[in-house]
């Protein structure tokens, strides 16, 4: 993961992963494994975490840490557990949060910006919410221009589906 030095975006240290919740023993077992892993997180990782389920029936595992490497390691381990248990088709997306330091809150709105990793397409796309159910297309294009060469990127913007109301508020 490269930082968007050019755009003046800073990682906030928050990242999350979301997957569809289903009923059944195997899923329950997997959930226990995840909770066990989270409960046994070593203090040297310095990660805060939270589990929540949204109104769409998707489970979210949210990490917040000072070092983005730790957040990444945490997310990778969770996705490994999910895949191991045979639920990889339930994985939807991983989300990484950035905040703009250059222009504080365009038009007074929130300045939180995201890179979404789509597990179905194995690539990233930008998500810059701008008020109610609208996105800042200009900023999203800027992000694409900056990082599209460096990471697997979704160039078909008809697939840049938003994730409204991300449950990524601060944990610490």
């Amino acid at each position: 993961m490269t930082l968007d030095v050019k755009l003046g975006l800073k990682v906030t240290g928050r990242g999350a992963l979301t997957f569809k919740r289903v009923s059944g023993t195997f899923f329950y077992e997997m959930e226990q494994d995840i909770r066990q892993f989270l409960g046994n997180l070593q203090p040297e990782f310095d990660l805060a975490w939270r589990i929540t389920t949204d109104s769409y029936g998707y489970m979210w595992i949210i990490f917040e840490g000072k070092r983005i490497e730790d957040v990444l390691a945490g997310l990778t381990t969770i996705s490994d557990i999910i895949e191991e248990k045979g639920f990889s088709d339930k994985l939807l997306a991983a989300v990484f949060e950035f905040s703009s330091v250059r222009e504080e809150g365009r038009g007074g709105g929130a300045s939180q910006q995201y890179l979404i990793y789509n597990y179905k397409r194995n690539n990233f796309y930008p998500f810059v919410p701008l008020g109610q159910k609208t996105t800042d297309a200009e900023q999203q294009m800027k992000i694409m221009a900056t990082v599209a060469e460096e990471i697997p990127f979704e160039r078909d913007m008809t697939l840049w589906y938003p994730l409204w109301d991300l449950p990524l508020r601060s944990l610490v």
Partner: protein, 301 residues
């Protein structure tokens, strides 16, 4: 929702189509006229002179032809004071001659520049362009058109087309030679030479067709760059391009979690038929232009 075409997909290309049809009709008229002359036995030199006069005439009346074919109307300061102010601000800051300003009564956002010399040039915008773009974006687009004028792109493309036209005439004459060569007293060697000329003419014509498009695309990039330098705000031109092309509207607003169930949709492979369409189009793809502008923006800030 995926089967039904979205409004942006039914893009209104009226302006371009009208221009192309007008010029195509003109070209066909020339060719028919010159062919008739050739048929009734007018000499090759006379035909070349007449063709030259016609090309000059088209060059001379190009403004009127463009205005007429697009339905653009020159507007006075009283009719569109804000538009005049905006253009004057840009030309004053950059020491450029003020073009005449025309407006097209069309909802589709678009703009073009024409004119034989920078002094006699015209910048035309559609009403839709003024509606949809904010002040800075409109400035970006007009600066782009002013850059076309400053770079004399109309002249460049007319000259480039001239070669294509000459190749076309050569092709026509080559064909006459091939068709009527039989009952003349030409020997086989003459026929072969004629065929060679025909072949070269065809290759030249195809090559010039592609080259004109390549030049045109290149001039677009240059006008983007120069236009962005004129306003100092590359990202504003980029966002105008995104709005004009309807790219903005293509970014979905439905939540990923809602569409995830329609799995079939994710299977659609990312086919890119881009390479071929790129070869034939006069404008580079919007994404590419936006990318370059954003790189400029990053370099400037």
């Amino acid at each position: 929702m995926f089967a039904k075409k979205q409004p942006w997909q039914k893009r209104d290309t009226g302006l371009t189509v009208r221009m192309i049809i007008s010029f195509a009709v003109l070209s066909v008229l020339y060719i028919v006229f010159l062919s008739v002359l050739a048929y009734v036995g007018v000499g090759a030199i006379a035909i070349a002179v007449i063709a030259g006069i016609l090309i000059l005439a088209q060059w001379y009346f190009s403004d009127k032809i463009v205005l007429w074919s697009t339905g653009a109307k020159i507007v006075s300061r009283e009719q569109f004071p804000e538009l005049h102010d905006l253009v004057e601000r840009i030309v004053a800051r950059n020491n450029l001659p003020k073009p005449r300003i025309a407006v097209i009564n069309m909802r589709m956002p678009n703009a073009f520049a024409t004119g034989k010399t920078p002094r006699s040039s015209i910048v035309a915008v559609t009403l839709g362009l003024m509606d949809q773009l904010d002040q800075e974006e409109l400035e970006g687009v007009i600066a782009h058109e002013l850059a076309h004028i400053k770079n004399r792109d109309v002249l460049v493309l007319t000259l480039a087309s001239l070669f294509s036209m000459i190749a076309w005439y050569m092709m026509r004459f080559g064909m006459y030679g091939g068709m009527f060569g039989g009952h003349g007293r030409r020997d086989n060697q003459g026929g072969a030479a004629m065929l060679l000329v025909l072949l070269i003419a065809i290759v030249t014509w195809i090559a010039s067709f592609l080259i004109i498009r390549a030049i045109s695309r290149y001039r677009e990039y240059v006008a983007d760059r120069d236009g962005a330098l004129i306003t100092g705000k590359p990202s504003k031109l980029a966002s105008a391009l995104l709005k004009i092309s309807g790219t903005m509207k293509r970014i979905p607003t439905r939540d990923l979690r809602e569409v995830e169930g329609m799995n079939a949709f994710f299977i659609i492979p990312a086919i890119s038929g881009d390479a071929l369409t790129n070869l034939f189009s006069t404008h580079p793809p919007v994404a590419q232009r936006v990318k370059k502008l954003m790189e400029m923006e990053a370099a400037m800030s």
